[in-house]
Symmetry: D2
Subunit: 149 residues, 4 copies
């Protein structure tokens, strides 16, 4: 596979989809899961006025939440069955105003680990005439056993 | 004043309120400005199912967006008139699940600067039986001249 | 105790001193352990020309390494016996040039945890006529069992 | 050029070399400038017992200082003449113990800007039998006019 990672759970895509579907905030954002590969997840968020900052662009918080989720699910895609993912910490640099019809948030695993997984994320604001790199993230994720497992 | 900072714009509170009111995302969150002092801003966000993660707690993205705004407005409160604030970058550690009736996001200026202002933020999940420290942030803000100024 | 934390290992000071004494880089810096309390460690580094950046101030790397060690040992002071500490990640904002006769790096535990401990650190450049806040850090530490334990 | 960036100062390599040569800490580390391209700088640090942590590996502070310098000089390579570079902030994840004969710290510009330049850095511990990715950094740099310019 392109990412070079082997999933430990053959149902990793289903696991990511189920967790995604339970997130109220991502529904509020009308966010869509566009890519789920081992160690790589991409989430798209269409523009709407309920997601703006004071200049009517995407609020940085939307991009950060989408990147956090994309990184978290990229990490989860490599975790053992019956594990859920938590964000330990994240750091993000905002590179440009997020002006566009939709946001693309792509998370990738840099280093999977037994306890901790390091991910990077990049967000792009896209419209018909191209896309622009608007944010870059470095994040630490951890896996914990499912409560009902 | 308690924070020890002197605002350069006597209308700093009005400036923060006007910018806050233009943010679609904060309206989506039903966020409230609770405190505006020189170098200190506090924002409250009531719980709702549209703001949750997969376990029905506050999504980390809500706390991060609220902390980003609280830190940004804390920085703006010390900036010259006709300036607006942009987030350069932020880093946040998530300390506990954000379970509660509302989130309190408090931003404080650590070091104001001509070009860059360093802030820290702390978020608490609160309910009738107390509050819990759920996140801590370190962020860099910058001021740019208002477009129409 | 002032920090409000209870050490789990009564010999925490000895454990910190022994680990500190094994660090070649801290000897190169002529760094001194000045404070070891539960959850708080302070390290001092005297100025020397071997520790400078291009303007003959303390190199940021010296302050960052000292803060990393102060935060790591603050975390270690609260860990169980026969544990050693590793830095997961850190983020630091440099606030001012570090001009002075010595550097003070103070690390404090924000949130101790079973697997992960979150710390903050602050560095000051000090001389006879006072001290200046030159850096602030937010870091994540983890404990692992001693190899020979 | 491979990095895709155009330097604004034709003497950018000379400028980087001169600044590097004035850094006492990098001399203490016996660090070498190995690559200076537009937007990309690589620094190597040979192992010595004066650069170790408690397990006799490279101290994280060595890798962080080398990455900070590599990122700073990558940023400086794209800045206007008579500018010097300062680190605003950096965040680093430590991925593996830095065991090896030398450290390779590579800094690359992600986004050059008029006031702020965002860089990423990656460090590898290398020996005869290969190299290992030991740290990844995201950093913000700024340029200021030379004092004597």
């Amino acid at each position: 596979m392109s990412s070079g990672f082997e999933p430990r759970d053959p149902d990793y895509q289903q696991r990511v989809r189920e967790s995604f579907a339970r997130q109220g905030l991502l529904a509020t954002f009308a966010a869509q899961l566009e890519t789920i590969e081992p160690g790589v997840v991409e989430i798209h968020v269409p523009f709407s006025t309920g997601l703006t900052q004071q200049d009517n662009f995407f609020h940085a918080g939307v991009g950060i939440a989408a990147l956090d989720s994309a990184c978290g699910y990229a990490a989860l895609s490599l975790m053992a069955p019956a594990t859920r993912v938590l964000t330990v910490e994240l750091k993000v640099n905002l590179l440009s105003p997020a002006v566009g019809d939709f946001l693309i948030a792509r998370g990738e695993v840099v280093r999977p680990g037994r306890n901790l997984t390091v991910c990077r994320g990049d967000a792009y604001a896209a419209s018909d005439d191209g896309s622009k790199h608007v944010a870059t993230m470095l994040a630490t994720m951890t896996g914990v056993a499912e409560r009902n497992a």
